[in-house]
Structure formats: C-alpha cells, structure tokens
C-alpha cells in the first residue's frame, strides 16, 4: 500500500501541497477531488516523481518512492496518465503502448540485429498491448497515429499506456475530462476493472461518476486534506460543500482545468 506522510511541495513561496498524509490500500479506486489549484495534480506529480518533494516521506509497499528517479517510478510499480494525454505522435498507437513496457522489456541496441530473443520479446510485448487495446475496443486503430484520433480516444490511450505495465499504483489525472458520453462507459469499465487488481488514484470532478466507481475520496483545498470518506458521505460534508461543491456550483459554466 501507499503511505504518504507529511508531504509538502513548495514552488518558491507557493505551498502547492501542505503537510499532506495519504494512505492508499492495495486495491480499489480512490479519488482526489478539490477546486482548481488545490494541489491535486502536484500531488500526482510528486507521487510519480515528476516533481520534487520539499518535505515528507512516500512509501509504496515499503519502498522509498522519493529515492527514485522519475524513470524508475514505473519499475517500482507506479504508472500514470496525463491531464492532456501526453502521447507520442510520431509513434503508432500500438507503439505508444509498447513504450509503456519500456521498463518491463530488455532489448537494448541489439534490437538492431533482430536476434531471436528480440523477436520473442517484441512478440510477447505486442501481444500484451494488443490485449489491453482489445479490452478497450481500440484494436482497430492500433496502427493509426494518435495525432489523428479524437481527443477522447487519446485520453483512453493515455490510460491504456499506463496500464500495460500492470502497475501496483495507477495514477490518473482527470481521465474523464474531454471524453464524450459514448466514451465514458468504456473508461469507467476499464478503471473499475483495473481497480480490482491494483490501487487506482484518480483526480476527478464529476461527483456522480465518482459515486459509481470510487470507494473512497480525499478532498483537498489549498494543498491540504480537508476531508475524506466514501463519496456518498462526502456529498453532505459541510466543509466539502463550502469549498468544493459550492465552488463547483458557482463555476459550473467554466470547464474544469487546473
């Protein structure tokens, strides 16, 4: 399980995450919610080692996460998606997923020689990615360039790419933002299935959606945790209503982004 203690991230004078404690069990779907600028993305960035942590400790099943370099997080079992689907447009969809297996695969420069070992590894890697794409019903676009796909597909692929390495902790930064009505159930099913085998921690604003898939949510505001509990209970929490739901209602016209 993930244990974050007293995590603080400071950018100059700005405290983005303030002495936050967070526990994420081994399995299930967990949500991070809060108004724009609450520090949710920064927390995801800190957990995935993209952004430096000023203070605190983060452990995943006993491993000191803060000792890892950014590219070592995957090997430690932490994979993530991005708010704006950071795909690799010069690669095909299938190849994008294969990059997600970079830590799992071994072929180095000998790949240039196409040795039997390389071929075997490529075959099994491709088979693994094919399975993930088929589960998401995306196999028919496996050889397309992600740049040619609708935004909703790109978001799905971003999640798929994080999933291929079968991480123990999957971090999703607003996976549903930009998805169409038709695409939402596909991703919902995918996340729910992923949560049966691992911990999924996701940033999401949509309360009804959270109630249907998340078992626990942590509410943040100004870098601190202000409440946590099952989504249904959070709905009635006065603190949450004051800083988040109330705010969301007031800005309902504005598209959520942070």
């Amino acid at each position: 399980m993930l244990e974050a203690r007293n995590v603080t991230v400071r950018f100059g004078g700005l405290v983005a995450v303030n002495a936050l404690d967070l526990d994420v069990p081994d399995r299930g779907v967990f949500a991070l919610v809060g108004p724009n600028g609450a520090g949710k993305t920064t927390l995801i960035n800190a957990l995935s080692r993209v952004c430096p942590v000023t203070q605190g400790t983060i452990r995943l099943n006993g491993v000191d996460v803060l000792a890892l370099l950014p590219h070592q997080a995957v090997r430690a079992g932490i994979a993530r998606s991005f708010q704006r689907a950071e795909l690799f447009p010069t690669l095909t969809v299938l190849e994008n997923l294969l990059v997600g297996l970079h830590s799992t695969m071994k072929t180095g420069l000998t790949g240039a020689l196409m040795t039997p070992a390389t071929r075997a590894e490529e075959r099994s890697g491709r088979a693994r990615c094919e399975r993930v794409l088929r589960d998401l019903d995306l196999w028919d676009i496996a050889h397309a360039s992600p740049a040619d796909l609708p935004y909703g597909h790109q978001k799905l692929l971003d999640v798929a790419r994080a999933l291929v390495s079968e991480p123990t902790l999957l971090l999703l930064d607003e996976p549903f933002a930009g998805l169409t009505e038709a695409e939402t159930p596909r991703l919902t099913a995918c996340i729910a299935a992923a949560g049966e085998r691992r911990a999924v921690l996701m940033i999401e604003h949509h309360f009804e959606l959270l109630e249907s898939i998340a078992t626990w949510m942590t509410v943040m505001d100004f870098g601190s945790k202000i409440a946590e509990g099952p989504p249904a209970a959070m709905r009635d929490d006065p603190e949450v209503i004051r800083c988040y739901l109330g705010a969301a209602r007031r800005r309902s016209a504005a598209a959520p982004s942070c």
Binding site: R75, T90, L91, E95, V99, G111, L113, E122, A144, S165
Partner: protein, 329 residues
Amino acid sequence: MNGAVVRSAAIALVVLCAALPILLQAIGERQVYWLFVVSEFYVFAIVAISLDLLMGRSGQISLGQSGFVALGAYTTAILNQRFGVDLVVGMLAGASVAGLASLVLGLPATRLRGHYLGIVTLGFGIAVDQIALKWDSLTGGDQGIHLHRPVALGLDVGTPVRMYYVALVALVVAVLLVWSLTQTRIGRAFAAIKDSEIAAAAMGVPVARTKVLAFIVSAFLAGAAGGIYAFLAGFVAPEDFGIDSSLLFFAMVVIGGMGSIPGAIGGAVVVDAIRTTAATVSGLSLAILGGMIVLVVLFFPGGLKGWLRARARRTAHAHAPKAVVTQDA
C-alpha cells in the same frame, strides 16, 4: 503504406542497384566515373540515415555530423597507412572512435536543446576539421593521407566495381540495422523522448541516458561511413569534412523529411544530385541547397516524405471518398 509492398519495392531497388555496374558497361557509359559518383552517394546516404536517427527520431539537432564522418575517415586512414588494417577493421575502428567522441557532444546534449545544441555541434564539426588541418604529424595536414589498396576480409576490393559493392552492402546493412532499431525498444524510446520527455520518463525511459545513446549510435554510423569513404576515395583531406559537408547532410535530412529512412535516402538523392551537377561552380550547390532548405521549411515542413504522403492521401480520398482510416505505419 502496406509493409509487403514497401519490402518488395526495397528489394527491387537493391537488385537494380546491384545490377548497375553491368548496366553501365552494357550502355558503354563512363563506368568508373559513375560508379564512383553512386558509391559516394551510398556513403552519404548512410550519413543521412545516421543524422536522421539523431534529428528525425530522437529530436536532437546536429550541425556537425561531418565531424563524426571525419573522425571515422581519419581513424581508418591512419590505421590503414600505419598498420595496414583492412577495410572492415578500419571501418569498425573509425566507427568506434566516432562513437566515443560523441560522448563529448552527447553529455552536454542532455542539458542543452534546440539552438544551443545546434551551436555546440556546429562548433564540434568545425573543431574536428581544424584539428585535422593543423595536426600535421598525425593527419598529414592539408596534404591528407593516402590509403593502401583496400582489402576486406582477405578479399581485394581495390577496383571501382568492388568498392561499389562494398558501399552498396554497407548502405543496405545500415538501413536494416537502423530500421530494426526503430522497430524495437530503444528506437521507440528515441521517438518518445523527442515527442514528450515528461511522458517518456513516466513510462520508464531514462531521458538523459537515451539522448546520449542516440548520439553514440548516430556517431558510430557516421564514423563507419567515414571509414568506407576513406577507402572509396583512397585519400582523406580536411576539405572533405568542412562545415559545407555538415550542411549537406543537414539539408539531406530536412529536404527528405525527418524521421524516416526512405526520406533520408530520398533527401540524399536530391542533395547529392545537386551537389554533383553544380560542382563546376564553387559555392553554387550550397546556394541552391540553402534556398531549398528555406523553401522546404516554409512550405513543406514534412519534406519529401510529408509531401508524398499528403499526395497519396489526397489521391486516396479522390478515389475512395468514404475511406477515412489513415494507416501511416
């Protein structure tokens, strides 16, 4: 495009190239001259592919690729002149020296990007050229170095026809190696760091190490090309590796369209054709190519590759307006 079609086209092209010496003899053209011109083109195409791997694939600029070619050529020439090493050993030694030297550029490259990396590599290219010119005792200064008659694996390859096949085999091997690399883990990592460093790192790609690796592989290939060039010309001198030739290689990649082996080879065809035909007037080919780079960057940023692909797409749409699935493998 369909993989099988591309493969058959490539094989047909190689067969045609292999038959060139016979064809030239049959039509009675100046065989020795044309064989040299085409062999030289093969060597340049290898350099173009090496540069495309670095620029087009991994997104790092090099304006000093001829520096690596020079290191390969001089290493080969010196080893051949002093110790009589054969073509294969000399080429591999030259490639290795260039690969090692690329660490000098690759390490700063992990901290620099864009214009700054361009300036560093430009400086490197100029420096290698000047060192070759000034370090008389090693490089023969502006007199250059003459090589012994080339021998490859115990076989005398000292005729224009045989050297032609050496160059052709080298190009085919280079294409196969680079193509295979791009289809496997490291090649995908190169593309990933070009497209998004942050996502690449999140997928477990060590960004700095991968950038250095791209430099090493690119320099190794360029160095190997240099080694073959030394034997092909039978002579190396600093004027072959100046800033001009770095710009030629740069032009090949830009005009061909970055990130594609056929693009790099196509770019090499265009650039080398201009260079050869405009060789009579000094500076003319660079003037033409400079203009072409400007036009390509302004109007066809995808180069030859992008232009052909857009055309193919338009024709496909015209013939089958309902087909929307684009499969650009």
